[in-house]
Assembly symmetry: C2
Homo-oligomer: 372 residues x 2
């Protein structure tokens, strides 16, 4: 038998991540009978007026939250950002095309590798080594004939974020970005981008839903052998209903969008997010026990990796494991760093309450007093 934790659980998972409590409560209340239909949302036909209404609401609420102009189309797809790693070159290039990738962490690395299956040249325009900073744009080596330029504005694993967007879209090369871990967490100037895509499971809703936002003039470029479910043009024409969408995930996303709008929207939550991140980085920097390796200008406000300093860890190699175990016992869960980098990581998306960050900071100070 599990034992109910005595204090609230704060879930720092990088995704699937914590969801807003009011969203889960509403989903629970409506689970057996959505709006007196006698049916769960999971049981609604995706072509009936009930679900098409939900999908329309999801799109309209997201458009409002992100201030999307009419010439950007919103698609609700499946397959995650990893699916779009393939769909991006399929939709934007012919068989013998090149594209530029700026790589600042694991996800950019994976996006580039997947694109290599479909591009004649998947060019690395720049990469950081180690992934603790974003190379300055003056050092990028763009290929000159790229069909697009791909970036990962926030790297979830390394906690590395772009502090400034590149200017390349102005030169006619569309900028494509994996915004899985920053969408709705801070304002995004959509006019700088050709395509944004995001897995839902961080700031949007449950895993299994992928959001793609594409500028209209970039449609109609898909290669012939693009799978229908990832053909942005066909999906845009069909209102994302060419096949059965992940209906329940779309519904929960709608509830998240409503929750965020009621809090004041993206500008308002971004202020909270910046405050949460500032506090946590300050606690790390002021500590003698913990450290974060990322260049200050490129520190993510969504994912904060940290570890016990190398000097201490050399003497006490079990200290991070101990931190994680004691934190979990105190209700601070899923603080493990990604298996590729180790250490700790606090993912503090929109739905992580400021009280959760305060509790983590208090726990870190207490841990340092005991073990520092």
């Amino acid at each position: 038998m599990h034992v109910m934790p005595a204090m609230p659980t704060y879930n720092f998972s990088p995704g699937p991540a914590v969801l807003p409590a009011p969203v889960l409560e509403r989903a629970q209340a409506e689970l057996l009978d959505w709006r007196n239909t006698g049916m769960s949302v999971m049981e609604l036909s995706h072509r009936g007026k009930e679900f098409t209404g939900i999908a329309a609401e999801a799109e309209s609420k997201l458009r409002t939250l992100m201030a999307l102009p009419d010439h950007y189309r919103v698609l609700f797809l499946q397959g995650g950002a990893t699916g779009q790693f393939a769909a991006v070159p399929m939709n934007l290039t012919g068989d013998d095309a090149a594209a530029d990738y700026v790589i600042t962490g694991n996800w950019g690395t994976r996006a580039h590798a997947e694109a290599g299956k479909f591009l004649a040249t998947a060019h690395v325009a720049a990469t950081s080594e180690p992934h603790t900073y974003v190379p300055h744009e003056s050092e990028w080596r763009l290929s000159g004939d790229a069909a697009y330029l791909h970036i990962t504005p926030n790297e979830t694993i390394q906690g590395v974020a772009f502090d400034k967007l590149p200017d390349s879209d102005e030169a006619g090369v569309p900028l494509v970005a994996d915004v899985s871990s920053i969408i709705l967490g801070e304002p995004i100037d959509i006019t700088r981008f050709g395509v944004l895509y995001a897995g839902a499971q961080k700031n949007i809703g449950p895993a299994g839903l992928t959001v793609v936002i594409v500028r209209e003039d970039l449609l109609d470029r898909a290669r012939r052998d693009t799978p229908t479910v990832w053909d942005w043009t066909a999906m845009a024409k069909a209102g994302s209903l060419l096949n059965t969408p992940p209906t329940f995930a779309v519904y929960v996303a709608t509830l998240v969008f409503e929750w965020l709008a009621a809090l004041g929207g993206v500008d308002a939550i971004a202020q909270v997010n910046r405050r949460k991140a500032s506090k946590l980085y300050a606690a790390i920097d002021e500590s003698g026990l913990f450290a974060n390796p990322v260049a200050v200008a490129n520190r993510s406000i969504m994912n904060v990796p940290f570890g016990v300093t190398g000097a201490v860890l050399a003497e006490r190699p079990d200290l991070e494991r101990r931190f994680l175990a004691e934190a979990a016992a105190a209700g601070l869960v899923n603080l493990e760093g990604h298996r590729s980098v180790g250490g700790m990581r606090a993912s503090i998306y929109n739905a992580m309450p400021e009280a959760g960050v305060d509790a983590l900071i208090a726990f870190m100070k207490e841990f340092e007093r005991e073990h520092g």
Copy 2:
């Protein structure tokens, strides 16, 4: 304001479809706090022991229900059956390969069209015209060098089902089948198949989950440019965890599998399904107002299309619309036939209680007394 229906709602949607009431009740009860973790299943990290435990349970329960031998691998993917229409040729053939398709309805037509993007020859070995029967195997024209033979054992839209599986797998050509609408509804002799795939939203769980069952010797054949999330070999190696799976849908599927096992498994539910279907076809055949066009041997036990007879409809063209409106008012909803064929259709998957079929039959008799 909507008004609560006075009688129970019976949802005949072809998918997303009705789910078992005990499954929805359990999902509701656990929605905020799964097994005293303080987290919703939607919030569990897909790499944590809680979710990997759920996924392992899902696989093991499905293996038991379907009596899957060890040399068949089970994958939990995204993108629906429509995604697998592309993934099948990608995973089973090289660039210059041929495959055979037997087409008996809309889904086979779409599977064949999608495969045409990836195959040198997507050969139609046989097709019914109209789609009211399965062409006899003696009339099939197999290409002789096919990498696989594809069938749709149950066509959801036309309600056409194979009464007998082809023998071709014995000749070394693997048989591949879209079993979206029959998986778990009746026993399937897996040893006759190389690959089965199914969207979850009929007999397994919520939309957004795709199940693929592949015989081990058919792995390691994927072409180089197979997207990672649909690469069966890579996904089999990674336990379907190469990227974030649709975690909540996997969890609900586990609850459905448990529910079905408690009812006695596939053999037991197949008896109920056959009884439900027999009753409904008998009511149609005995009626002077309604008709079903499918050859008796090929009538689906999952999807029962029917319409007002042509003679009556010629005089009273509004009668089907009226049937649908009055049925909905009586709590019998989503009986519309697919938009490509019109008329009515009752989808009576595992989770449709026999009482729902009885209620539909009673309503049909009453409607015929009033309008016949």
